[in-house]
């Protein structure tokens, strides 16, 4: 009970310091070994699908290159118009790279610890990316470490939108795994394959960060909101590096 009260009052500084200087460095190497082993085991099961996946990825790569080129043109036009209107040119978000050094020690919650903290400019609420996707937000920080609440944690919530149709909702982690996009208006259009991104409303998470892709939509006539299942490529056990978005 003493520890719980101390935790609520934020009086765990000395304990956290000891944890950051002993357990975290010792566990960092083992976490890397575990992630590598998990990835290797996962790859063993995928050998027979390699040729098919390779072809699919090549096609996606070609499509993405084309979209990148078109987006680059759009960005140039956007910057030019902003200059002409006297608005600030949107910059690339500043990020700090960190290594995952510890994981949630149980099977139900989804948190990881990284080896950068407030000393690197990290604050609670900042977005964290890996593999180009949002994987979570900073839950709390120490001087040398930070804890990330992953998007698949049952208490994770963030406003999000369907980038293809503009429909907005709240993306929430589900107990077990996975994400849902909740509180979508009944009249809003959402379909399988749509991209889900952050809206940037409230908090420190900028807009336009990729969250995942709509897998399926659940619509019923007698409820106010629709929900959609969102697929994310986040694999907790293979998470090695994370990038904290400090700001634009």
């Amino acid at each position: 009970m003493f520890l719980a009260v101390a935790g609520v009052l934020g009086q765990l500084g000395p304990l956290r310091w000891a944890y950051e200087h002993s357990v975290v460095p010792a566990g960092a190497g083992l976490a890397a070994v575990g992630s590598t082993a998990a990835e290797a085991i996962s790859n063993l099961g995928k050998v027979k699908d390699l040729a098919r996946d390779n072809l699919k990825l090549e096609q996606e790569n070609a499509d993405l290159r084309q979209r990148l080129a078109a987006d680059a043109e759009t960005r140039r036009d956007n910057d030019l118009l902003r200059q002409q209107l006297g608005l600030e040119v949107a910059g690339a978000p500043r990020q700090v790279a960190a290594e995952v050094v510890a994981f949630q020690p149980d099977s139900y919650r989804q948190f990881v610890t990284i080896n950068k903290g407030s000393g690197a400019g990290i604050k609670a609420g900042m977005a964290v990316l890996s593999g180009g996707e949002l994987i979570g937000t900073i839950a709390d920080t120490g001087s040398m470490t930070s804890r990330i609440m992953l998007v698949t944690d049952p208490e994770f919530k963030l406003t999000a939108k369907d980038q293809d149709t503009g429909a907005t909702g709240i993306v929430r982690g589900q107990l077990g795994s996975g994400l849902i996009l909740d509180k979508i208006g009944q009249t809003d259009a959402v379909k399988s394959g749509d991209t889900v991104t952050t809206t940037g409303l409230g908090g420190l998470v900028p807009s336009g960060l990729l969250i995942g892709e709509v897998q399926s939509v659940n619509t019923r006539a007698n409820v106010v909101f629709q929900t959609a299942q969102v697929a994310t490529s986040l694999q907790v056990s293979q998470l090695r590096f994370a990038y904290v978005v400090l700001g634009m």
């Binding site: 009970m1 520890l3 719980a4 101390a6 935790g7 609520v8 765990l12 304990l15 956290r16 944890y19 357990v23 010792a26 566990g27 960092a28 190497g29 083992l30 976490a31 070994v33 575990g34 992630s35 082993a37 998990a38 050094v101 510890a102 994981f103 949630q104 020690p105 149980d106 099977s107 139900y108 919650r109 989804q110 948190f111 610890t113 839950a139 804890r147 609440m149 944690d153 049952p154 208490e155 919530k157 929430r172 589900q174 107990l175 077990g176 795994s177 849902i180 909740d182 907790v236 056990s237």
Partner: protein, 160 residues
Amino acid sequence: MVVLAIVSVIVQVSLLPALRPLGVVPNLMLVMVTLIGLEGTASSALAVAVAGGVVLDLASGANFGLWTALLVLAALAAGLVHRAGIELVGPTVACVIVAVLTVVEAVVIVLGVAASVSSWPIGLLSGRLVAELVLNLVLTVGLQPLVRRVTPEAAMGGIG
């Protein structure tokens, strides 16, 4: 025994969650505290429970103090077994304590997020609980000889 406890804590927060055998994280610390309490003394089990629990609470995003409380409960349960004079021929008693506390851990954590959950994947949660139970029991049976070898002779019949 101190080295074993330290290694167990580090493995619990780094290697086991990364590997996730059968898709779950086995509770190595619960197994170790229970075995130290049964094969050694209750006071050493309590010390490991408190120190290890604090470290796990710092790494965990669940309610702070949960891990410490769970591990202290395991140490006290093992101490009560000593006090009751129950014969420890095999791993049965340890398995019972570990199994009960594995279920307690799952229930407490899931209840802690109940207010945020909109749908309950009962099948998935039950499957995970069963997988974690199996792995914890396997660890209990497998680690008992090691813990018996490294713990000092138990102070028979009393806590501390």
